[in-house]
Amino acid sequence: MQENTTNEREGAPQLTVSQAIANLKQTEDQGDRYYAAWWIGRFQVRDPEAVNALLVALKDEQNRDTDGGFPLRRNAARALGKVGDEAVIPALLDCLDCSDYYVREAAAQSLQALHAKAAAGPLTKLLAGGVAAAVPVPGKPHLTQPYNAILEALGELGDETNNDELTSIIQPFLQHEVPQVKNGAARAMYQLTGKGQYADILIETLSCDDLQLRRSALLDLGEVGYLPAAEAVANTLAENSIKLISLKGLLEKHLADKVGAKTTQNSTALVSGETHTVETRKVMSLMDSLL
């Protein structure tokens, strides 16, 4: 029901799961195939046949753009992150070596979505050469690697075994002149170290002149759940819808941490019988004011 509504609202052609899989498996119509790969990801079709067809599409040679890129592979890599089957991790790791920047970017994002611990090493390899190698590709609108996606993924893939190594590799990117890269590094450093000084870089971004950067800093703060940012988030010049999503992230991270500290079995927002704290009431008051 919900899927149909969304589908209609986006004006997308109606597909059934079997049609989408059939469209993805055929090679006559490139447009249908490309769309089917997106559709299977969008509706998170957890079907072995769909996943296999996506894995085939990930190695496609036919669908090329004028730059030599692989549009179908990009969609397939994105979809594999959304479908959520861990068995596809090795295939996504192979994509990190693809000549197409956007395939590498999609693979990094999907590996992050799948919490693929095995990706930490291969992703750090893409950071070889450090900041000095992170320069624009002549004639292209992007840098040599999808740094933002790589840094973001590494921020979530760290654990006791590799945290020190990751932070020493990521730290220099805090000095990168491209704000998106710098913010990606700040976000990752906060996740790996828990130190507020890194999240504060994202808070500073909330008052910059560029609306796109303000929006992405709002979403970053929500995703890492940095509670002290609440007030600054509410006061940012941006749409209330985005600020509400950000504050929801802050609140839920805080609640999950609290629940995690008390019990690992209870998945509800609050341990039953417990009342809200000053912090959680504060975040909700701010959210109320943005409705």
């Binding site: 929801k248 609140l251 609050l270 809200h276 959680t280 909700m284 409705l291």
Partner: protein
């Protein structure tokens, strides 16, 4: 002309003269800041321009002006296109003018845009019920309660369900102040249902806070 009128005229001219999105936004913010009834027509006109920043400023200004702005909107809203109507409904929801209650109810339940449903659901919690006769008030509150209970459990967007929870809290408060505790009873059940059933922790958390506040109010009322 008095000083306020001179000020109003100059602010109105600034809006007329604005020649970029940014100068329009600045001029509308300045006009809204004087909270003058003479600004109503111009602020309403701005709702129809394709300038979201300026429209937000105009919405805030109209809400500040309150009842006279609601009167003007209610007399014109039928002729609006979708965009202007959505902004107008945000104003009506923000003012809580009871004459707009049926329109706000319909919007909370049915509007296409989630941000408009969100504002309407929130607005149902702050209708100025005291302006209605007791009979009208009770009928209106029951209708608002049923709509909000439905939206809180059925809307597909978490933020609209969240807004409905906030609306239910405001409505329950109005009922308790009115000494109509029995009318508020189904709201307690609806909030408990969100705590138990909603898939989004933020909605659960907000429902829980609403219940905590209602229990605190109940204790104050019964023990004082």
């Amino acid at each position: 002309m008095s000083n306020t009128d001179t000020l109003l005229q100059s602010k109105l001219q600034d809006v007329e003269a604005a020649d970029s999105a940014q100068s329009m936004l600045d001029a509308v913010e300045d006009l809204a800041a004087i909270k003058h009834e003479g600004a109503i027509d111009m602020l309403i006109r701005v709702l129809g321009y394709n300038n979201p920043g300026a429209a937000v400023a105009a919405v805030d200004g109209l809400i500040q002006i309150g009842t006279p702005a609601a009167s003007a909107l209610l007399s014109q809203i039928d002729g609006y296109n979708y965009g202007a109507r959505a902004w107008a409904l945000r104003v009506l929801a923000g003012i809580g003018d009871p004459r707009g209650r049926d329109l706000i109810l319909e919007t909370a339940a049915e509007d296409f845009s989630l941000s408009v449903r969100r504002a309407a659901a929130r607005g149902l919690g702050k209708i100025q019920w005291e302006k209605l006769s007791e009979q009208e008030r009770q009928a209106g509150q029951i209708k608002a309660r049923e709509t909000l209970l439905h939206v809180a459990s059925e809307d597909v967007e978490w933020v609209v369900r969240y807004a409905a929870v906030v609306g239910l809290e405001g409505l329950a408060k109005a009922m308790v102040i009115d000494n109509k505790r029995d009318l508020a009873a189904p709201i307690l059940g609806g909030l408990q249902d969100r705590i138990d059933q909603d898939e989004v922790p933020t909605v659960q958390a907000r429902a829980q806070w609403a219940l905590e506040k209602m229990n605190a109010t109940a204790e104050r009322v019964c023990c004082s």
